[in-house]
């Protein structure tokens, strides 16, 4: 794994570099408090602790019980998820929960997952030199696209988050470090 001297770091908002690299996802940390909720989160500041304690009721509900758009404004949080807000988990992290517009926080996705599907690209994309392998991996509750290394590639194979240097082309002006999924040998 190439690492330290490569720059620029690509996709820096999606992962935490350093050994071992971990992908960051977002989750809701509190239901929107009426119309003023978006004012409580500044763009780009999704670190833990930006939400005042006590704005969210405790408790959890089963996955999938919070349908989009069903959360009424200012009703408090009888339905809360792992981050203390509604149950929404999203990738990449964003400052607002896409479901209830409550404040969001980041958390680390599991380092290990499963390969859902894959391909080897044989034509230049402008962002990677062929041939290159990409695929979707299931990490916890999200399905994430990334470069693949190792193999052989097969659906259902165990994968581990890693970092590689790709010779990025026109879009990035040079090589850079990106996250990738190491596909375990059978």
């Amino acid at each position: 794994m190439d690492s330290s001297d490569a720059e620029p770091v690509l996709l820096g908002d999606r992962w935490r570099p350093g050994p071992p690299p971990r992908l960051l996802a977002g989750r809701c940390s509190g239901l929107a408090e009426g119309a003023g909720a978006e004012g409580t989160v500044a763009e780009g500041t999704v670190a833990e602790g930006t939400v005042a304690e006590g704005t969210v009721a405790e408790g959890t509900v089963a996955e999938g019980t919070v349908a989009e758009g069903t959360v009424a404004e200012g009703t408090g949080a009888e339905e809360t998820g792992p981050g203390g807000g509604c149950d929404e988990v999203f990738f990449p992290p964003r400052p607002l929960c896409p479901s209830c517009w409550g404040p969001a926080e980041t958390f680390e996705l599991p380092a290990d997952g499963t390969l859902y599907t894959f391909t080897t690209v044989q034509v230049p994309s402008g962002h990677a030199e062929p041939p290159y392998m990409i695929g979707y991996a299931d990490l916890g509750r999200v399905r994430v696209l990334g470069h693949l290394v190792g193999g052989p590639l097969r659906i259902g194979a165990p994968v581990t988050v890693t970092a590689i240097t790709v010779g990025a082309g026109a879009g990035h002006g040079g090589p850079g470090l990106v996250y990738a999924f190491e596909v375990a040998a059978p």
């Binding site: 690509l10 996709l11 999606r14 996802a25 988990v89 999203f90 990738f91 990449p92 896409p98 859902y116 599907t117 894959f118 391909t119 080897t120 690209v121 044989q122 034509v123 994309s125 402008g126 962002h127 990677a128 290159y132 990409i134 695929g135 979707y136 299931d138 509750r141 999200v142 399905r143 696209l145 990334g146 470069h147 659906i155 790709v166 990025a168 879009g171 990035h172 990106v178």
Partner: protein
């Protein structure tokens, strides 16, 4: 109170690669043929709605130059592959709502000037930055589909074989040479399991429609439904072997038209890749998940089958000048329903559907999808 909207006329200009032509020269033959076919004068066109993806700013205004169609509402719709299909939906709504009597829909695109054979995508999209290109996205769908349903690559290859055979009868198609399954599987790999002949080509082209409150000369073709939607933006694990967006937009269209998939006689659907046609025949409800290959093998979707799919040759043979495709699909259904499809007219057709979908952006399954259902009225005006 809404009134019916009719597809009064339709015309397609030759699709291909024309980097030296000006945009207006690409568009003019289709516009002139459509307006003349409607037996209208340019002055009677109330509005122009253009659909294009990546041909520069103000594409519609540039394309109508020199034709006496300016100085009225002119709107540009950009919805990736579904650009002119979305434009047609908007035109039908304008006519139905009484805001216009005759609307010209123009799908036009000129991608040949952009160099690469790949459809241009946004650089700031995180998936694009990783190296996702449209063939790779569909290759990964295909991989999953083959895995889940036990379908073989030879069955994927049957899609371009059928569509290139249909396209050989279409004078406006870009690729008119029939191919065999061996040709398809032996062509170079783009992103496995997809080979070159399983991927549509971009290029240039134009198609024009007149959507009107009254049918024109000849059999009347009416919009029975026009449904469209953006895909769902979500991080939840997505089923890549099925198309949820196409299924939901089709469901809305069937409800609007009060017509079910079993009543369809002819379909133009978005076969950007071989896998696409199998997944979309399933999502449109012609058959169950994983059964698209069998449907094709039985000949049900052949030119003379009970429901011809892509009689024009589809994107695989006609070519896919992105924004022009939806209008070209509607134009094909128009001639099929009127019995004017010449050498690619199978049996008589009364009910047709177009399906246009696409747009590869992170978070969405597809950026936009549009489904129209057209019906030839038995006792329509002029019919």
């Amino acid at each position: 109170m809404t009134r019916p909207a009719y597809l009064r006329s339709a015309a397609v200009a030759a699709f291909g690669s024309f980097p030296r032509r000006r945009l207006e020269d690409l568009a003019r033959p289709a516009i002139v043929a459509a307006v003349r076919g409607a037996e209208l004068t340019p002055g009677e066109i109330d509005a122009v709605v253009g659909g294009s993806y990546a041909s520069g700013a103000l594409t519609a205004q540039r394309a109508i130059r020199g034709l006496g169609l300016s100085a009225r509402p002119v709107l540009n719709v950009e919805n990736a592959c579904a650009s002119s299909a979305s434009a047609a939906a908007y035109a039908a709504a304008m006519v139905s709502g009484g805001g216009a009597r005759h609307v010209l829909v123009l799908g036009v695109e000129q991608l040949s000037r952009q160099g690469s054979g790949l459809v241009p995508l946004n650089d700031d999209d995180p998936d694009v930055a990783i190296g996702l290109i449209m063939p790779a996205a569909y290759a990964m769908r295909a991989r999953r589909y083959l895995h889940e349903f036990g379908v073989r690559p030879e069955q994927l290859a049957a899609v371009p074989v059928k569509n290139r055979r249909n396209g050989s009868r279409n004078e406006n198609a870009r690729f008119r040479q029939p191919v065999t399954a061996a040709d398809v599987l032996g062509s170079r790999t783009i992103a496995d399991p997809l080979t070159l002949l399983q991927c549509c080509a971009g290029g240039d082209g134009a198609a024009a429609l007149v959507v009107s409150a009254e049918p024109g000369p000849g059999p009347a073709v009416r919009f029975a439904a026009s449904a469209q939607s953006a895909g769902l933006d979500t991080s939840d694990p997505r089923d890549m072997a099925r198309s949820a967006l196409t299924a939901s937009v089709a469901r809305k269209a069937y409800e609007q038209a009060e017509i079910g998939p079993a009543e369809l006689d002819v379909i133009e659907l978005h076969d950007a890749f071989s896998i696409s046609e199998l997944m979309y025949t399933e999502a449109l409800g012609l058959c169950g998940p994983g059964e698209g290959a069998g449907l094709l093998e039985r000949g049900d979707t052949a030119l003379d089958g009970p429901v011809a799919v892509n009689p024009s040759g589809g994107l695989l043979a006609r070519g896919h000048p992105v924004g022009a495709t939806g209008a070209a699909q509607l134009a094909e259904i128009f001639v099929q329903l009127r019995g004017q499809a010449g050498p690619r007219q199978g049996r008589p057709r009364r009910v047709g559907l177009t399906h246009t979908t696409g747009g590869g952006i992170s978070g969405y399954d597809h950026a936009a999808c549009a489904v129209h259902i057209l019906v030839r009225d038995q006792n329509g005006h002029g019919g």
